[in-house]
């Protein structure tokens, strides 16, 4: 299997006035194609910084980074933009969909910047991507008309519409309830089963167990990197959750004790 990510001694320093904050202190990381990696760590551990560098949104202070075999250490702004467009699909915590823009148009967005015209039929490709996340009947809904889980599915469809080498998901379930969280994770698992490399940043240990490999960060260093032993299956967990009707009954019953 080819290496999607190959990082050697990646550091990233931020200068804040006179103080230099060392967000990353030397990361060595290799991710092969088809992996499902969970990056864990408390806030301040450097996981967002690492994510930004992996996603070519930010550049390391020092170290070597090869993405899908390409040396991405010293590129121009435009070249980074093209790498992001061609090789990476982003999923953010806050969905980051364009407001007052339909799901289909949101998903089509990366294809607007598809310079090489890699994707032959952008409209059809966007519809397919939405179908892949189970939203084929929500093509013309705007984000405000969709639930949080559905919005995140639209964001995932947007991330995979350009057929990226990997999908980067930064706390994608941070704003979602339990059901929607597992729902979204099940989408990632399905995509991974189809061979797409997934990097999932999360601070919830539970969520990390849906991945195949966990990388733990602390103070800008990888302190743990091991495969998931007791991997969970999101679809099975979803089926095990009480249905919405049952939930409603439960919450009614609990209403007296628990104010929520």
């Amino acid at each position: 299997m080819s290496e999607v990510i190959s990082m050697q001694q990646i550091t990233r320093d931020y200068r804040m006035g006179d103080v230099v904050v060392r967000a990353l202190r030397g990361i060595d990381l290799t991710v092969a194609s088809g992996e499902f990696l969970a990056i864990m760590g408390a806030s301040g551990s450097g996981k967002s910084t690492l994510m930004n560098i992996v996603g070519c949104l930010d550049q390391p202070t020092s170290g070597q980074y090869r993405l899908d075999g390409i040396d991405v250490n010293a590129l121009t702004r435009n070249e980074y933009a093209d790498i992001r467009n061609g090789k990476i699909g982003f999923v953010f915590q806050g969905y980051n969909l364009l407001p007052r823009t339909t799901a289909l148009e949101n998903v089509e967005l990366p294809l607007v910047y598809d310079r090489g015209n890699r994707i032959a039929k952008p409209r059809q490709r966007a519809i397919d991507a939405l179908a892949l996340v189970g939203l084929e009947d929500r093509l013309h809904h705007e984000p405000s008309q969709l639930s949080g889980g559905q919005q995140q599915r639209v964001a995932i469809a947007r991330a995979l519409v350009n057929q990226p080498t990997m999908i980067l998901a930064d706390e994608p379930t941070g704003n979602l309830d339990t059901r929607a969280t597992i729902d979204v994770l099940s989408v990632f698992q399905e995509l991974n089963e189809q061979g797409i490399t997934v990097l999932l940043v999360t601070h919830e240990p539970e969520n990390a167990h849906y991945a195949k490999r966990i990388v733990q960060l602390r103070d800008g260093l990888i302190v743990r990197d091991q495969p998931v032993t007791n991997r969970r299956n999101a679809r099975r967990d979803l089926a095990a959750l009480p249905t919405e009707n049952e939930e409603a009954d439960l919450s009614e019953a609990a209403a007296g004790k628990d104010g929520r």
Binding site: N52, G55, L57, D58, R77, N78, A81, D82, I83, R84, N85, G86, F90, F92, N96, L97, L98, R100, T101, L109, P110, V112, Y113, D114, R158, N162
Partner: protein, 405 residues
């Protein structure tokens, strides 16, 4: 293809903020409409002045005596007058590009007629003068070449003079006296109104040139010669011909200056319309300022829009838009806003000039060139004032933009 996409994105985001877009464009709409209407009004009055001057006569060429210049001392205009009736005659006989010519001898003074008296000017001319000035008779007849030869004491009155001396009567056949010289009134001139300088052209008496020259003035020199070029295209050639003829008549050697000055209608029009041209320019520039103010409005809204849509810009940058894509997007938006404003402005201007022309005294003439310029300028305003906000958007850091709240 890329332009289509850009245009689509721009139009969509403009339509998302209809009210704001409309108000933003309003600055440009008003600016463009103001420029077009102001210039139209200015050019309307210019055209009116020109038509008034054209009423002076068709293709008119005027010859004045030059000022004297002896030993470094310049005399006043006409102080070196060697122009005579013979000059006019020579032109009439020899010039090929002149259709009519007449000397003009000016005099003036108290005129007594009926029970009244009136101070007016008297022009000694020849019958061809009417044709040159494009003037008609209201009643009676004009004097003939024979009257000119015989120095006949006949006069044709302008409307104002006729009304003043003979109110409510027909003066034809009546006697008037100019400085003790009796004249018989044989005709009345049609009303001509004011000239471009505001002078009443009807306050005049015309008499044969010879009569005025010898009986009233007792001099040899005439005040000017007026002539009509046979065609408007021949104006300059006719002027050259006149110059040659007069130099020959006055025996002027090669290298010596003319002792006369030739002016044509076009030059007089130019001088008169210079004023209204300056007015047009002034009105246009004031309106142009409002166009610039409109542009600043667009810049202001674009800056707000960039700030407001920082997240959107962050998303676009993150998913692979280049800085130039974002720049083009916002620039297109600004240009579309201002261009649409410009086009609507043209419609508004069209309506406004229609109303001016139909319901007021003001004459407005829309100049297609100004319309084109105004639209081009409004597009330029979009580019100019849209560029700074667009560049600001393009230069955003995607990480910061994504986390912008």
């Amino acid at each position: 293809m890329r332009w289509k996409k850009l245009l689509k994105v721009a139009v969509r985001s403009i339509m998302k903020n209809r009210m704001r877009s409309l108000l933003t464009s309003l600055g440009i709409i008003i600016g463009v409409a103001a420029v077009i209407v102001m210039v139209a009004v200015g050019q309307g009055s210019q055209a009116r002045i020109e038509s008034q001057i054209n009423a002076l006569g068709a293709n008119m060429i005027i010859v004045f005596p030059a000022r004297s210049f002896h030993g470094g001392v310049r005399g006043s205009a006409g102080s070196f007058n060697r122009m005579t009736l013979d000059d006019a005659e020579k032109i009439a006989e020899e010039a090929t590009m002149i259709s009519a010519v007449s000397p003009v001898v000016r005099s003036g003074g108290q005129v007594i007629g009926g029970d009244n008296n009136w101070n007016t000017s008297i022009e000694g001319v020849q019958p061809s003068y009417l044709q040159i000035r494009d003037w008609d008779l209201a009643s009676g007849e004009f004097f003939t070449d024979r009257d000119v030869r015989e120095r006949a004491k006949v006069a044709v009155l302008g409307k104002t003079v006729a009304d003043s001396l003979f109110p409510g009567q027909d003066p034809v056949g009546a006697k008037i006296r100019v400085r003790n010289t009796p004249f018989e009134v044989i005709g009345i001139l049609a009303e001509k109104g004011q000239n471009a300088m505001g002078q009443n052209q009807d306050d005049i008496i015309m008499a044969p040139s010879t009569t005025v020259l010898y009986r009233l003035k007792g001099r040899e020199n005439i005040d000017m010669i007026v002539a009509s070029a046979a065609s408007a295209d021949w104006m300059s050639a006719a002027q050259e011909e006149l110059t040659e003829l007069l130099r020959e008549a006055h025996g002027i050697q090669e290298g010596e200056d003319d002792d006369f000055i030739i002016r044509n209608q076009a030059e007089i029009i130019e001088a008169a319309s210079e004023t209204s041209r300056i007015m047009t320019l002034l009105l246009g520039s004031i309106a142009g300022v409002s166009l610039i103010v409109g542009g600043i409005g667009i810049m202001n809204i674009m800056l707000v829009s960039v700030t407001e849509r920082t997240r959107e810009i962050g998303i676009r940058l993150a998913i692979g838009a280049r800085g130039s894509d974002v720049l083009a997007q916002f620039l297109t938006e600004a240009v579309v806003l201002s261009l649409v404003g410009g086009l609507v402005g043209i419609l508004v201007a069209g309506g406004a000039t229609f109303i001016l022309n139909e319901f007021t005294e003001i004459v407005a003439v829309i100049n297609p060139l100004i319309v084109f310029l105004a639209v081009a300028f409004s597009g330029g305003v979009g580019v100019f004032f849209g560029f700074y906000p667009a560049r600001k958007a393009a230069a955003l850091n995607p990480i910061d933009a994504l986390h912008y709240e």
